[in-house]
């Protein structure tokens, strides 16, 4: 496949991410997927930080590497071929950073990114939902000393390890929600146990309860939905890149296996039904890659309707990744179902990734409303 995602200037990022994934992630994949789920050992995050993966789109003067969405996609895709957990960490952190940037909360962000400790840099966020889907968001009260938050919020990604969380909360009497930065080390914040999830086990998640926890407003009151939507529009394509990488990993492994495994006296790839399944996987994967690349182009050039392009890409690619990874197990037969082979993990990770940035049916509904309104 001509990797259309890869403009010449992206090759170095691809090599970097590829080397990193094979050196740091491949041999840890099985272990970091094992119960009790948690994080990779510290070296993985430290190395990722060193390479700039915890600040891919962050400006250089804030400690990032100042790249655009294409570099983000290339890096996420490459990492996910090996293990999507780290990609989920990078995705969530980038999403939170970008929201802060969109909200103009540069000073707040600077205070977080100044640290050299990778865990201090991480900002947690409930990235597997759109805050609007939560009926009972925490509520914020404004006092003399600033805002304080109370209530609970589910499934905050990175909460078990990050020092900060970007929390959506409602201000009494206002529509919509506002976004706040909360220090998770505060005694007024209670983190639940690391949650047992379907996939990306090395990307920890927890529910959070807030009891009047001090919070700093991000941007303006009531502007949460706008900041989230604006950022999500760009991040959709990154979510698609995660699914694309998972698909590629699944396809590569299935193709190799089908050449090695013999049944009926020859490699199973010679059975035409197997060829058909592999071809379907390749078709879905290649189209996904083209879609991600085109969406990156559209975003970079800010062509009209770029956001529709990004949303469409995410919905399509996140969905087909679930189908492709299902076949990815099937090609291996019983072995595909075992934890030793990585295919079952890709199946789980793809299904997990489908929920990134909110429920797919609601996103579809928004998409058609937007397309309709553009006529």
């Amino acid at each position: 496949m001509i990797t259309s995602l890869l403009h010449d200037d992206m090759k170095s990022f691809q090599d970097l991410a590829h080397n990193f994934a094979s050196k740091e992630l491949a041999h840890r994949r099985e272990e970091s997927d094992r119960y009790p789920f948690g994080l990779f050992d510290d070296t993985v995050l430290a190395k990722a930080h060193e390479l700039g993966f915890l600040g891919i789109t962050l400006p250089e003067d804030m400690g990032g590497i100042g790249q655009g969405v294409r570099a983000l996609c290339v890096i996420l895709e490459c990492i996910c071929r090996t293990d999507a957990s780290l990609a989920a960490i990078i995705f969530t952190n980038t999403l939170a950073q970008e929201i802060l940037l969109k909200a103009g909360a540069v000073d707040l962000l600077r205070q977080v990114t100044v640290s050299n400790n990778p865990k201090d840099i991480l900002i947690s966020f409930p990235s597997y939902s759109n805050p609007e889907e939560h009926k009972n968001l925490p509520f914020a009260t404004k006092g003399d000393m600033g805002y304080s938050l109370s209530g609970s919020i589910d499934y905050v990604v990175l909460a078990p390890i990050a020092s900060q969380a970007l929390i959506p909360a409602r201000i009494t009497g206002q529509d919509g929600y506002s976004l706040f930065l909360v220090d998770l080390r505060s005694p007024k914040v209670k983190k639940g146990e690391s949650l047992f999830s379907l996939g990306v086990h090395a990307c920890p998640v927890a529910d959070i309860t807030l009891n009047g926890a001090e919070a700093r407003l991000v941007g303006q009151e009531g502007k949460g939905p706008a900041f989230f939507e604006e950022t999500a529009n760009m991040m959709y394509v990154a979510a698609a890149a995660v699914s694309l990488g998972i698909m590629k990993g699944s396809f590569d492994y299935a193709l190799t296996y089908s050449n090695e495994r013999e049944q009926g006296g020859w490699p199973i790839i010679n059975w035409s039904e197997m060829k058909m399944i592999l071809a379907d996987m390749a078709i879905q994967m290649n189209i996904a890659e083209m879609a991600v690349s085109e969406a990156c182009n559209a975003i970079e050039k800010k062509v009209a309707g770029w956001d529709v392009c990004a949303k469409t890409t995410a919905l399509h690619v996140q969905n087909v990744a679930c189908l492709v990874t299902t076949d990815g197990i099937q090609i291996l037969g019983g072995y595909g179902y075992m934890k030793d082979y990585g295919q079952e993990k890709r199946f789980r990770d793809a299904a997990q990734n489908k929920a990134l940035l909110g429920m797919a049916p609601l996103r579809k509904m928004d998409l058609i409303d937007q397309i309709n309104s553009m006529r």
Partner: protein
């Protein structure tokens, strides 16, 4: 309208009436008592779900993550106390003698709460069916007596089923493939029995079952014509348990490697081999063995379809509950039209899946493996005669006469069209029901979004559990080919299967 002779001749054309409307043809022959019995059994399974399965399912799944070597002895004990391991053992063998097709809706019921736990119960019936369909009444009688005794003494005695080998999975399932493959489980004829060497993999409940049904081959170059089907007791010298597989789902039901190293199997544990078949047929061993496999799978694949339907139903019920409690964009999810359509689609899948296994079982009852037991006089006779009567009859099973009669009937006289139809339909049900299982889980995950990802909501476990159903009892690709072979290929004699 048109003369009967014309009706008959038109309806002999493909698709034949008798193959397409089996349930309708069977309906007048169905003993009415089966309906009530089945209803009672489903209610019993629901109670079991409420009291045992639902409270344990997630806890046990978590436990198997904490301890990947966890074995479900407690659960087996409980299932045994509820009578599940003898429920479908015919009364003639001392069991509770419930009608065998009713196993499917019961399995659907339990799978709707937890597929792994359903398999801790159901795998035993795969082993049991493989024994019973060998029609070696003496060996079957001996082992089923132990099963019944096990339940009485509170020491569950289960039967596992082992045919898959490390480098021959699909290949051992069909005689057209096995000679091209590389089977390695060898049976060497010695005085008084066989010596077995080789390995089996992925054997569900292998480690915790008392007996295992096994295929081995006296000639590895021509296995199709040289198979030996036998049973081995766990703990026998030369027979050991290897690795405990680390699976994505259905984790409470262990899958093991089984190892044979110069393991002696006496003749009285051999079910079918080249010698035993001579007593009842002139057919080649390969043909008899393929038929044995067809009988096993026509029963078990209907059951796996029911498991698929069960998990599809569980996913539907979870999604429905979620939708009825969760407000999205100012309205309960259940009141969004798009969500209603997804729920209707899931419900349709469950309903059609159920029809598929019911039809496969009607075929088994009308023209297949359950035919004898499901005949009205036989059904009522077995149902209403007291246990004492069957205890008196039981020694007859050891005389050889019953083995001869049953083998003659099922291996020598049964029409090939009936076997093709029943095994084809059960393969169809298998891939239909299990694809539905995975599909409904994926739809439920879409509907539940973030909540579906959490273990404590149960949905993610269902998805992990469901995927296995598309793989075991033959991959769904192979079941498509098997249904083509049984139901479509006979129409065109020039059709060749597994030849490219």
């Amino acid at each position: 309208m048109i003369p009967n002779s014309e009706v008959q001749s038109i309806m002999k054309r493909f698709p034949k009436f008798e193959d397409s409307f089996i349930g309708l043809e069977y309906a007048p022959r169905l003993p009415k008592g089966i309906i009530r019995e089945t209803k009672e059994l489903i209610a019993y399974a629901r109670k079991f779900n409420d009291e045992v399965v639902r409270p344990k399912a997630l806890l046990l799944d978590k436990k198997t993550h904490e301890d990947p070597d966890y074995l479900p002895y407690d659960l087996m004990q409980t299932a045994s106390e509820w009578g599940f391991y003898t429920m479908w053992v015919p009364k003639l063998f001392g069991g509770r003698g419930k009608n065998l097709p009713s196993l499917s809706p019961v399995v659907e019921e339990i799978s709707s709460a937890c597929v792994g736990i359903a398999n801790v119960l159901a795998v035993h019936y795969l082993g049991l069916t493989s024994l019973m369909t060998s029609f070696n009444m003496k060996v079957t009688n001996r082992i089923l007596k132990e099963v019944v005794e096990g339940e009485r003494k509170g020491k569950p005695c289960l039967i596992a089923f082992a045919i898959t080998e490390p480098i021959a999975g699909t290949d051992v399932e069909d005689n057209d493939l096995v000679d091209k493959g590389r089977v390695t489980c060898r049976a060497e004829r010695v005085n008084g029995g066989y010596v077995i060497n080789g390995r089996k993999v992925f054997i569900s409940m292998g480690q915790v079952s008392e007996w295992t049904f096994v295929f081995a081959y006296t000639d590895l170059k021509k296995p199709s014509q040289n198979r030996v089907d036998f049973v081995v007791r766990t703990g026998t010298k030369g027979f050991s348990v290897g690795r405990h597989e680390n699976k994505m789902g259905q984790r409470v039901c262990p899958a093991n490697e089984l190892i044979f190293e110069d393991c002696f199997i006496p003749d009285d544990q051999v079910l079918i081999d080249a010698y035993t078949i001579k007593k009842f047929t002139d057919k080649p061993l390969g043909e008899v063995m393929q038929r044995h496999m067809d009988y096993i799978s026509s029963s078990s694949k209907a059951g796996v379809c029911a498991i698929g339907v069960g998990v599809a139903r569980g996913a539907f019920e979870d999604a429905l509950k979620f939708a009825s409690e969760t407000e999205v964009r100012g309205r309960l999810l259940i009141n969004h039209e798009w969500a209603q359509c997804i729920l209707a689609e899931m419900h349709k899948n469950v309903t059609l899946g159920r029809l598929a296994y019911m039809e496969a079982n009607h075929a088994n009852s009308h023209r297949g493996i359950y035919e004898l037991l499901q005949m009205k006089p036989m059904y009522y006779y077995l149902k209403f005669m007291p246990s004492l009567y069957f205890r008196m009859l039981n020694p007859m099973l050891n005389t050889g006469l019953t083995t001869w009669a049953m083998s003659k009937m099922y291996y020598d006289m049964k029409k090939t069209e009936d076997v093709d139809c029943t095994s084809g339909l059960s393969s169809l049900a298998k891939f239909a029901g299990t694809d539905i299982g995975v599909r409904n889980c994926q739809l439920a995950m879409d509907l539940m979004g973030q909540a579906g990802l959490r273990h404590d909501r149960g949905m993610e476990k269902r998805l992990r559990d469901a995927k296995l159903l598309q793989i075991y009892e033959g991959s769904n690709q192979i079941n498509r080919i098997a249904s083509f072979k049984g139901l479509i290929a006979p129409v065109y004699p020039q059709t060749r299967v597994f030849e490219q």
